[in-house]
Symmetry: C2
Subunit: 322 residues, 2 copies
């Protein structure tokens, strides 16, 4: 009865009467990667986002003077996320240094991104390249979107990482984390509050994404704690571009990169409904979130903060930094 | 771009491009009504929900043995909420006692509600009627949906009240409180997290409701804390039954009593959107929430809990009780 605020025409809910659920679990799972100081104790700040785990870290580092001009090194600069972060960083007034870590094939080559030439260092000369960069930019913050091995390489020159694994989902560097955190808190504070409610979950991603959304699973875990019965295999995955265009309303230019999520809760007597949506087109929110994480780390370095381990929740807690 | 998960046809958003905001303020404002023990110290538990303030209280009272059979007295039994609570209480196995407080005009009359006769006591014999009821049902819990004066009358025989004012909004005895609490926590934890985002708020209520929704205002306060600029006069009020039917999707039988709320957040670059809806038809959610509050109070009385002041947040925190 109270299914939707806006009357919808080809209403997916009317066709798929699955149960619903709120969840809040995985973002609080944190582990620390052990420190390895094989060769030197020189340290730097690193923002790392790889498929899994997602990490943000701060290592002993000299303070920067202000937000603008903060030197950052963006690894995998030829990748989509690398490019997005370079552009977002430049737009935010950061100093994106013209070196980057890449794969063997790209090693020694330069690539133009946002009107700037970037020299790519392959796996073999990463450490020496990093040492050189740190000598030139002592308060360097490294942004890394490559596989976890890149993080391990960084470990070798002394780093402490705060890791929170997230089922391979790379959507953590953004405002969605605030929503997830709120769901976790709600689930913790009000266990069983939505007992008897039914849940429907729909998520739409680019056709190349095979698995169900990790974010959806995290939110469903919260709904489960709130008393809602819902199995992960009840998530309705939408991967057909025509359905995405016509039913979900994904803009055509974002069919190849989007993350739309919808959770619909209905009371047992059908008189009450709640609906939550978080819909992302493209990568800019993740790139902007990464810039926020950089500004946060720079601020903490400058303040000589005692704490060395941070995650995106800490970044969001800090409030608006620009 | 990422405006809605479900493609909507007559999309109100496309027509009204107002800014958005999350808020979480008023439900935490609590005051205690002073105790008055003019005539006797006999005590009882009271659940009170009047236009303003909304109150839940526990007064020293003998324990009840179990959830079912808990005696409750529902005041204003001829009113819509009174009837709804009587029906919900009976359905939940509570013992709804056949007496009620009412107005002068109804005093001394009996009314049949849910197949049971209720004798109504007017303002002049409330106190003696309550004393009689308490003698017969020593662990009586009183549900009161009348004006705050009724609560004051109860004060005269010894009661402690936990009051949280809510701008005249009587929608607090339900799951929406959990959503509001989560919004408050999010606003507190992540100040400015949605800075630069634009907000649209639409709310639809029965045509007789003149003012903007107090619930919407509370949620908007949270959005404001999250960095979103939005003034209360930007709330889009929908009171036209035709619009409610065609645009909002309110079921026809609930045009005379519904509370639909929609908040839509959009990122500055239009690539990200969040949407939250809480849509209520009729009064059953409030009646069920009241029964939850009764079960909660009975449980606390039985456990001889030290605490004497509760609100709906406490009830929801307790988890599912049936």
């Amino acid at each position: 009865m109270a299914t939707s605020f806006l009357k919808t025409t080809p209403n997916v809910f009317q066709r798929h009467q699955n149960p619903f659920a709120f969840v809040a679990n995985s973002i609080s799972a944190r582990t620390s990667v052990p420190i390895s100081q094989k060769r030197r104790s020189r340290s730097f700040a690193l923002v790392s986002m790889s498929a899994t785990p997602v990490e943000t870290s701060l290592v002993k580092s000299p303070p920067s003077s202000q937000n603008t001009g903060i030197p950052i090194m963006v690894n995998a600069c030829t990748g989509k996320m690398g490019k997005a972060v370079i552009n977002a960083g430049e737009a935010a007034g950061l100093n994106v240094v013209p070196v980057s870590f890449g794969c063997d094939e790209e090693s020694g080559q330069t690539f133009e991104i946002g009107g700037k030439e970037f020299l790519v260092h392959g796996p073999s000369d990463r450490e020496s390249a990093l040492v050189s960069a740190l000598e030139r930019y002592p308060n360097l913050i490294v942004v890394d979107y490559t596989v976890p091995n890149a993080v391990n390489d960084c470990n070798s020159i002394g780093a402490i990482f705060n890791t929170f694994s997230y089922e391979g989902n790379a959507e953590l560097y953004c405002k969605v984390v605030a929503f997830l955190a709120a769901m976790e808190i709600m689930a913790e504070q009000f266990p069983g509050a939505f007992s008897g409610y039914s849940l429907q979950v729909l998520e739409s991603h680019q056709a190349s994404k095979v698995d169900a959304s990790g974010t959806a699973k995290a939110v469903i875990s919260c709904f489960n704690k709130l008393g809602v019965s819902f199995d992960m295999d009840q998530i309705k995955l939408i991967r057909d571009p025509r359905q995405q265009l016509e039913m979900v309303g994904v803009p055509e230019e974002h069919l190849s990169g989007h993350a739309f999520h919808m959770y619909h809760l209905t009371s047992p007597d059908d008189t009450v409904s709640f609906e939550f949506q978080h819909n992302v087109c493209g990568r800019s929110i993740y790139a902007e979130g990464t810039v926020d994480a950089v500004l946060f780390l720079a601020k903490k370095i400058e303040a000589k903060d005692e704490k060395r381990l941070y995650n995106m929740i800490d970044v969001l807690r800090e409030g608006n930094m620009r």
